[in-house]
Amino acid sequence: MAKYRGITVNPKRFERSQIKFYIILLPMIILALLPLIYIISTAFKPIEELFAYPPTFFVKNPTMANFRKLFGAAENTAFPMSLYLFNSIVATVAVVLLGCFISLMAAYALSKKRFKGRKSIFKANQLALMFVGSMLGIPRYLIIKGLGLTDTFWVNIIPLLIMPTGVFLLKQFIDDVPDSLIEASRIDGASEFRILMQIVYPIVKPAMATVAILFFQSAWNSTEASNMFINTEGFKTFAYYMNVLTSAGNGVAGRGMAAAASLIVVIPNIVLFIIMQSRVMDTMARSGIK
């Protein structure tokens, strides 16, 4: 795709006139980073600073005490931290891969296939999107019990595979894929599955990456299954474990530990995001479709 010089959209070169954009963007960035700065700062605060009033935002004398306390508490539990970590990694990888795949298939079918009930299925998805999650707990519990999923490892994976938001976002993006492109590949003899993976998937990659991140978060941060459905300690997840460790020391002093724990939990999210975001970049423009 040719790029035009001298137009302000998508410029390639840096010019002095663009400085004003950076000046507006920078303070926004700082605000956007506040939660992370806050959590890092709190995680390294010594106990006196946690109690300080008015509370300070930045840490003055950084210390590892909160982390030491956290790992100290971890040594007193019956199972090693690595077990929970392993569980979380397996569950998260499974949820992201399967979830993305199921959502992509569903979104493609909802967007490009014509069959009876297509619209009502999409409406059902939207209803699911709007319903307040907290109230579904009890019926969900009954179902998971009925399916015999309680106290198995599967309960960490299966209930998380369905994310109405994911299908909704993907469907909107697949709507923009021109039908002619799909028809052309069908005439060339591509199977439906191949069309999905080699034509549709590359075009909607940016949306896919967003959905993957959402899936990752729902799985990696999930404590619900471990809390409600699993008794066997060996099946529980890392986020749950961190939650339990920090809830021991509640109150102001516990806040430092909680911040340390959430910093540890959030690091994989950040790393994954940094890896993903470069892939998301400009895929839309490069796909060669106007």
Binding site: K3, V9, K12, R13, Q18, F21, L25, M28, L31, A32, L34, P35, L36, P54, F57, I102, M105, A106, A109, K113, R114, F115, R118, I121, A128, M130, F131, V132, S134, M135, L136, I138, P139, R140, I143, P159, L161, T165, L169, D176, I213, Q217, A239, M242, N243, T246, R255, A258, A259, A261, S262, V265, V266, I270, F273, I274, V280, M281, M284, K290
Partner: protein, 292 residues
């Protein structure tokens, strides 16, 4: 005649592959979401009795719960208004700022990916379970602490100026933290607009303002609608809205276990639906105008 049969089979085949692709997801949606939604509907019109053996005895109670919400619950109307106000004010602010930020990002030659990543950051950071507990514990403290230096400066101004400024300032944080996904979507939309259109417009002497309203905005409209829906749902799903709190506070009510909060959450869903309807009416594509 032959042609017609072939067409029919093609269409059937098309429908069948579509259904095959949908099956795993439909099963999941039905089992883990639709059935629970239906069940909560049932709960909201019943009196539930929990047996020691583990079973649940439901007796039909009609609209009892709903009537109680409106006539007896003093917390309901304030919570409803509070939530409505929160969503109705925040959604346009989030949408406008995501469009502005996305357009700024689109004009930046260097480090666009980097900047965009930073705006998406809060989405990644905030959602952790421990983090949400932390924010839930001292949500106000986090905001105050965040604003520390600037806050004092603004507070020292006369009250007439400082009150709205502080309001905007508080909301700037909220807006930025909840517009990560929206910025991504709108930026993707912006990248799809053909550059020759802009070129043609500027050759014809259109001003930047005109270009925005005549070219950029109409192109972005579907994306903005998508973002509007996403934002309303995202905000409504926050466990900290007044209505969501009311729902979870009432779950364990001993006299009307689960039923009362089931009814409340149905009302909440209805409110969200109405707001989505408004968003849809405001932002949907105006077909008649384009035909002229």
């Amino acid at each position: 005649m032959k042609k017609r049969t072939k067409e029919t089979t093609l269409r059937t085949q098309n429908a069948l592959t579509g259904l095959a692709f949908l099956t795993p997801w439909i099963i999941g949606l039905a089992v883990f979401t639709l059935y629970p939604i239906g069940y909560s509907m049932m709960m909201s019109v019943s009196n539930l009795e929990f047996k020691i053996s583990g079973g649940i005895q439901a007796t039909f109670a009609g609209m009892d719960m709903y009537r109680k919400i409106f006539t007896e619950d003093a917390n309901f109307i304030p919570a409803l208004l509070n939530t409505l106000k929160f969503i109705a004010f925040s959604t346009p602010m989030i949408l406008v700022s995501s469009v502005i930020l996305a357009m700024l990002l689109n004009k930046v030659p260097k480090g666009r990916g980097f900047f965009r990543a930073l705006f998406f950051f809060p989405v990644v950071v905030i959602s952790g379970p421990v983090m949400s507990k932390l924010i839930g514990n001292d949500a106000t403290m986090l905001i105050q602490a965040g604003d520390y230096g600037v806050y004092q400066v603004i507070k020292s101004l006369p009250e007439i100026i400082s009150t709205p400024l502080l309001y905007v300032f508080d909301n700037v944080v909220l807006i930025l933290w909840y517009s990560g996904v929206q910025i991504l979507i709108i930026l993707a939309g912006l990248q799809k607009i053909n550059k020759p259109i802009y070129e043609a417009a500027s050759i014809d002497g259109a001003s930047g303002w005109q270009i925005f309203w005549k070219i950029t905005f109409p192109h972005l409209r579907p994306m903005i609608l998508l973002c509007g829906i996403y934002t309303v749902v995202d905000l409504a799903a926050m466990p900290s809205t007044a209505l969501a709190k009311l729902v979870s506070d009432n779950v364990e009510r001993t006299d009307m276990m689960y039923s009362y909060s089931a009814a409340l959450s149905w009302l909440y869903t209805l409110v969200v639906l109405i707001m989505l309807g408004v968003v849809f009416l405001l932002l949907k594509e105006r077909k008649e105008k384009q035909d002229d």
